[in-house]
Subunit: 322 residues, 2 copies
């Protein structure tokens, strides 16, 4: 069943959907963000919220009932908090859709609908979790409220995976340079805006802290001037994931400041990878996070090589009960 059919079947069961609740942990939580951002910005009736799974479990929103769609994600399908969130959502009568790459994993148990995505096959495949979730959001908006740019979005989905794959392949040399420049950085900040806000977040808490044990902080680039910019000094390392879309000016303003004070800045700019040549302006905002995720993955891989610290190396995860 594709995303359109899933939403259409839910609508037959419950024409009066009031809330969409996105639930996940870590990178899987962040992968839900573009869909959440899309609905926040475009819906006029449907409520939208986004929780780390245990927040959902311990303080379950009142709106979770048979008028709610709960969309959850877990790469391996075993994240205990997210599995529990599905059970709670189901017990309250919500329509549960889950994204995972693992057939019959625990996450699928209480899901009414499961969307399987790929991951390891290619840079593009790594984006399917984020992309299918955004497709679900698009279907929800279109089927329950109507969406004028539906065809432009559909066309975007046909192009983004290849575009991201090609962008990632073309980024290797820049990524090697980044890795050499940042391999000894004691701390690295990551920021972005718009739909890409939580790609910056995942880059910071997963790629930097979890997978490289590098100290890191992250914030929306619009928040940069309201606190974080006072940390800027010569050689303080920043990564700016720069959007080609409505919030570009927010990212640019931060970049101008970083350059003015000689911060050690790495910019990954969607404009450089031809996003606007392939994706219509009406919907380009929502495709930035996919492109920028794919490109930054190459940067993280090169960093792990330069630091001789594999991305899969862990101190605690997979080794302990906690």
């Amino acid at each position: 069943m594709n995303t359109k059919q899933i939403i259409s079947e839910i609508k037959e069961k419950q024409p009066n959907i009031k809330s969409v609740v996105f639930v996940g942990c870590g990178a899987s939580k962040a992968d839900l963000y573009p869909a959440k951002y899309f609905l926040d910005g475009n819906a006029k009736k449907i409520r939208v919220s986004h929780y780390t799974a245990n927040e959902f479990n311990y303080a379950t929103p009142e709106a979770v009932d048979d008028t709610a769609i709960v969309i959850s994600a877990s790469l391996g399908g075993t994240t205990p908090e997210t599995v529990e969130a599905n059970a709670r959502a189901k017990a309250k009568g919500a329509h549960v859709i889950s994204l995972t790459r693992s057939i019959d994993s625990p996450l699928t148990k209480d899901a009414d609908y499961v969307i399987y995505h790929r991951f390891a096959e290619s840079y593009g495949a790594k984006l399917e979790k984020m992309g299918y979730c955004l497709e679900l959001a698009m279907e929800i908006l279109d089927q329950f409220e109507g969406y004028d740019n539906y065809e432009d979005m559909k066309e975007g989905f046909e192009k983004i995976y290849n575009l991201a794959d090609n962008a990632a392949a073309s980024a290797k040399l820049y990524a090697k340079k980044f890795a050499e420049d940042y391999k000894d950085a004691p701390v690295i900040y990551v920021m972005s805006s718009g739909a890409t806000h939580e790609v910056a977040y995942a880059t910071s808490i997963c790629l930097m802290m979890e997978m490289q044990w590098i100290n890191s902080g992250t914030f929306h680039s619009g928040e940069f001037f309201h606190g974080p910019f006072e940390i800027v000094d010569k050689d303080v390392p920043f990564i700016l994931l720069m959007n080609d879309g409505r919030t570009r000016n927010i990212d640019s303003r931060a970049l101008t400041f970083l350059d003015r004070f000689d911060a050690k800045t790495t910019v990954i700019d969607a404009l450089d990878f031809g996003l606007s040549a392939e994706i219509k302006k009406s919907v380009i905002d929502y495709f930035n996070p996919m492109l920028l995720s794919a490109v930054f993955r190459v940067y993280a891989e090169e960093l792990s090589i330069a630091r001789q610290h594999p991305l899969t190396k862990r101190r605690y995860m997979w080794k302990l009960e906690y």
Copy 2:
């Protein structure tokens, strides 16, 4: 006009309010979070969103029209992005309520309603921005959908400011110890959960990065195990703002892990300051951020003294155009 009268007048003008949008920057954005969290968790019909002001300006949500209430905040009332957000909201017909301490400041120009709060007078006064915003959220919920715990909340508001003032006063010795222990820390992480999530955020980006130029990162304590915890090692400095309420288990789980690996952990626990003796269990979640903000302010003050770095010291703010 008090918060009840403001919402009642808006309801007379527009009985069909569909969305509440919270807009601010930095600490003022974070001060709106408990209200946003309250509505996310308790409303069943009203849509809720929360933006840093330039995100709202460059990608204004479609729902901003005469069925929306926009609630904005700026301490001095001059934050340019937030002032502009008010103008945009007003131009689209939204009902604009603003919180500031500065009479007739630019923020008040396009606000239909202004709530003035105090700030410098006491630790309790610093909480009024957050508290009045939460009161607005409570009134919106009660008047548009009904709220069973309204009287418990009202009673909480009568007690929280004094309670927070007393808690702050009693924290001084612990705060001095913290300041001695953390004054040379190269990086400090801050986390919390529930309604207090963005108190942790503001502590990190404002009190640490902006006001002390200390490297810092922040995340929800439920996210700790999904990335950030791999940074934990002996003596890595963490601050945990611990809630007395439904999400306490999330904070406790993080604390257990930090203790197990001898991280340098400072816990500020709402339980220690008697929150549950004064605030009813039905609504206690929403008062944690006020209490914990007041107490941590004392910690930040002591840190600034130990580091001989006043909280008002800036490199860029107030000194440059940017």
